[in-house]
Symmetry: C2
Subunit: 331 residues, 2 copies
């Protein structure tokens, strides 16, 4: 049997069975956005890691090395945000062909440094090795979280509302701009979509703002797409969910490219992935606090958690259930 | 300018300049076996990461996937030992071609699990992504160290003695067995050399034993070879070193393959690399305690630290200075 037969999530399940095991220092192991370790009386230590492969996850003819580096750091920081945490330190490993220009590698690290400096994340170590042909970039980010603020995928309860921290689909739309080539829409529109794809912003500030007056019950970062990531929350929490499709926030720019490509804007939003917005669940009695926070962030209510775990569905404006589609599959 | 022009250490210097920066939480950043972060009054947090690329660092026709996985964990644990630390948790990222057999990946993780379980290291997370052609394995290990036990590369002082925790050159000799094909020496000899290469033992227990009665001033793990790694200690500490070549511990098995290949046994020992023994410096007044510890471990005195930083040399049995040669260069 090949990896392509079992897929990413099939593989993760098998791996987790092999390496799983009890350890009193481990609060959460494989299966959430970060691993969670005991740190001290007040805080947990968070660990997350992401690997990016050239020609699979990025192309240097589509993105500058700075953008690739910055985006790789941002993706890891998004995982820290999804657990309610703040950044602590990063290590960066790079495998590159020896015939790569030193300038290219320096630009990659400059892009990482810019984003990590912006969010207070020192890069403290790493490894540099030779590869056969393509660059592989593997980043590990440590974070910390107050014990009372820890958010996982498994705390959603029936009746909770589902919220997202920003418009969805822009990153996937930006990838379409790169694939089609620029110049078919206005430079402003293309620029905003490209920025969403190339320079995503981890929601570290937003999640701390939400803690001020809300008590989120679960959280995940939208890396694989709403359809897939909401399923992760539901599976881990043993609940279902209904998404009111007309409430899913979609940007004007995403509607623009949808009109051009003929692919529904909602498909970008539900299946696109890599928006790095957060998907949270919040108790219904907190919803009253959202309007004030909505001004400070771009958080929107898009649905609710239901008791029946077999239901993870969209609901259209007429109340009909509509499939949410699939997310990004890595193999 | 290409990476092959500046080499691994040239690249690390450039990278360290880009990502360097002060942060009060960072005790030691890029440039030692682990990064060191503030944790609490009693302890520091250690972070180390290693990336292994198929066909560059391992071949699945020479090593079983179990051996590759176990060795990757051991190499990271060796970095924790080199800082005087004990293991805390690991993350594992793997990039693999989709047409790889699931069994192969499971065996890799089984090998990692065996070694990590042996040393009390839970594997708590990771990433699984698609690669173009070869496997890239990137492992990050966290450790902890009592503040008083922290060992770095920079504490060696003139007059200190240089010690190593075991025989050197066996791992390189084991690689030669693989390259030449087995069957030219006795199965016992080949088996011992292959084990040194494929299943190295991180010196976690030995370093804790040494703390009981010695106060090491600096430490590094022998991953690039004695010649190269001793230079790292000397550069970081601003000192020189003389190695008494006849005292470098070399196994009977290594002498056996040297007789067969015509390559001097000392060359295996000085330039071979990946033995994952520790190289330590110890104040001369502690040397009296070594004999007792020598029975418990295989630690041997091989030289001494000198004031003149321009001298990092071997000394032969007649007192003549002899070049130590080069270590492993990654690009």
């Amino acid at each position: 049997m090949l990896l392509s037969d079992v897929g990413e999530f099939g593989l993760i399940e098998r791996v987790a069975e092999i390496v799983g095991g009890d350890d009193e220092r481990v609060v959460i192991g494989i299966g959430d956005d970060c691993a969670v370790l005991e740190w001290n009386d007040a805080k947990y230590l968070l660990v997350t890691t992401d690997t990016l492969v050239e020609q699979v996850h990025f192309r240097l003819d589509w993105a500058t090395p700075e953008d690739v580096g910055g985006r790789a750091i941002a993706a890891n920081l998004s995982d820290i945000a999804a657990m309610g945490g703040t950044p602590l330190a990063a290590t960066v490993s790079i495998a590159t062909p020896p015939e790569l220009a030193v300038d290219t590698v320096e630009e990659l690290y400059r892009g990482m440094q810019q984003v990590s400096a912006k969010y207070g994340l020192p890069i403290v170590g790493g490894d540099t090795v030779k590869s056969d042909r393509w660059i592989t970039l593997s980043i590990t980010v440590l974070g910390e979280v107050k014990k009372g603020n820890l958010l996982t995928r498994s705390g959603a309860r029936p009746g909770d509302v589902v919220v997202v921290t920003g418009t969805l689909g822009d990153a996937a739309a930006g990838l379409d701009v790169l694939e089609r080539g620029t110049g078919t829409m206005s430079p402003e529109i293309e620029g905003r979509l490209l920025a969403a794809h190339l320079r995503p912003e981890p929601r570290l500030r937003e999640i701390q703002l939400l803690f001020d007056s809300l008590t989120p019950t679960s959280c995940i970062d939208l890396s694989d797409g709403l359809a897939s990531d909401l399923r992760h929350i539901c599976t881990a929490s043993g609940v279902g969910a209904e998404v009111e499709l007309e409430k899913v926030p979609i940007s004007v720019e995403c509607h623009n490219i949808a009109a051009l490509t003929g692919k529904p804007a909602l498909e970008y939003a539900l299946s696109g992935g890599e928006d790095f917005e957060l998907l949270l669940t919040i108790p219904p009695d907190s919803v009253g606090d959202l309007p004030r926070l909505l001004r400070a962030t771009t958080t929107k209510v898009i649905g609710r958690i239901v008791d029946d775990a077999s239901i993870v569905t969209g609901v259209d404006i007429e109340g009909n259930r509509v499939a949410l589609g699939k997310g990004y599959e890595h193999f």
